[in-house]
Symmetry: C2
Subunit: 189 residues, 2 copies
């Protein structure tokens, strides 16, 4: 098949996939997790049920794919924040701020959704990407003499991700800023 045709098919597949994930996210937000079925997803996405089943075997698979897309979007955003320049410590501060605000926004998930997503290997893999991203940034800061060097950057990355998870429960943006300051103070030499 000519390349152009393959490109067209790929673009079509991506569009169906994206429409499905968008529809699912909307359904969960509107009606809660337990009301989501393959039929409703297909209807909301404007595709046939048979088509939907060619892409995903069940609702859980759709939710996992949706979450993977969310994580990828977040990583893209954090990468853009990191690449805005400054010393390693400045870039780390900017990234931790961005991550804390993401954690806070995520707090609006229905608890049932987290329950589904936290099962199995899926979340471990998603968190692994985030941790690797932070570990590299932390290692640069250690290298530059800006951060503590008595703890492995991989362990510091775990500390950061967990500590900033506290943002989920925080009532104000000021409180999120304070949480980032406290978390960063744990990383100082």
């Amino acid at each position: 098949m000519p390349r152009l045709w393959n490109d067209t098919i790929d673009a079509h597949r991506r569009a169906v996939r994206d429409a499905t994930l968008d529809a699912t996210a909307a359904l969960v937000a509107e009606q809660g997790l337990t009301s989501v079925t393959m039929s409703r997803i297909a209807e909301k996405a404007g595709i046939g049920r048979a088509t939907l089943y060619k892409y995903f075997p069940d609702v859980e698979a759709v939710l996992m794919a949706w979450h993977e897309r969310q994580v990828a979007t977040h990583l893209d955003h954090l990468t853009a924040v990191r690449d805005q320049g400054g010393s390693p410590a400045e870039r780390l501060r900017a990234v931790l701020h961005a991550y804390a605000f993401m954690s806070r926004a995520k707090g609006n998930h229905s608890p049932g959704l987290s329950a589904v997503l936290h099962q199995g290997e899926h979340m471990a893999r998603a968190h692994g990407h985030l941790r690797d991203f932070l570990r590299e940034l932390l290692a640069e800061g250690v290298e530059a003499g800006e951060l503590r060097d008595d703890v492995d950057p991989a362990e510091l990355a775990g500390y950061c991700l967990h500590a900033l998870g506290a943002a989920t429960d925080l009532p104000s943006e000021d409180a999120v800023h304070r949480l980032v300051v406290v978390t960063l103070d744990g990383l100082r030499k």
Copy 2:
């Protein structure tokens, strides 16, 4: 009824309840969460199904009660650690160590169990008790001039609990000690 008779009934009820929760924990550990049914719990606990249903309406209620008992046990332990004496900062260090090691042990839970337990109001209440406990200890440290006073102790308590949650994934006891050091450094003046 005479008081002694009431005491006997209370003791009996507590014994049945404890036996039920122990049996359930054992079943989850042996066979996984999905295999747990009211019939199997009753059999393992050595009581009749009808009796079990007088105490708990369903498996989820048993799991919640089991988790509440776990949290109460943990809080008792943390209280004992706190009351071993020392300055507020020393007692805080001891409590955070104890909590980090608890978090690490908890990591052995089946993920399905966390999923059930994390749903609804239940976990929020359980965490509320822990947070209050830590907030008081942190407030003492701030009062004594040993800890940072620019962030509300309630926010610092949330930071501590989340940060120490990173212990779940840590491979060694040394790594847990390092996590506690890093977390405490975030609390310094």
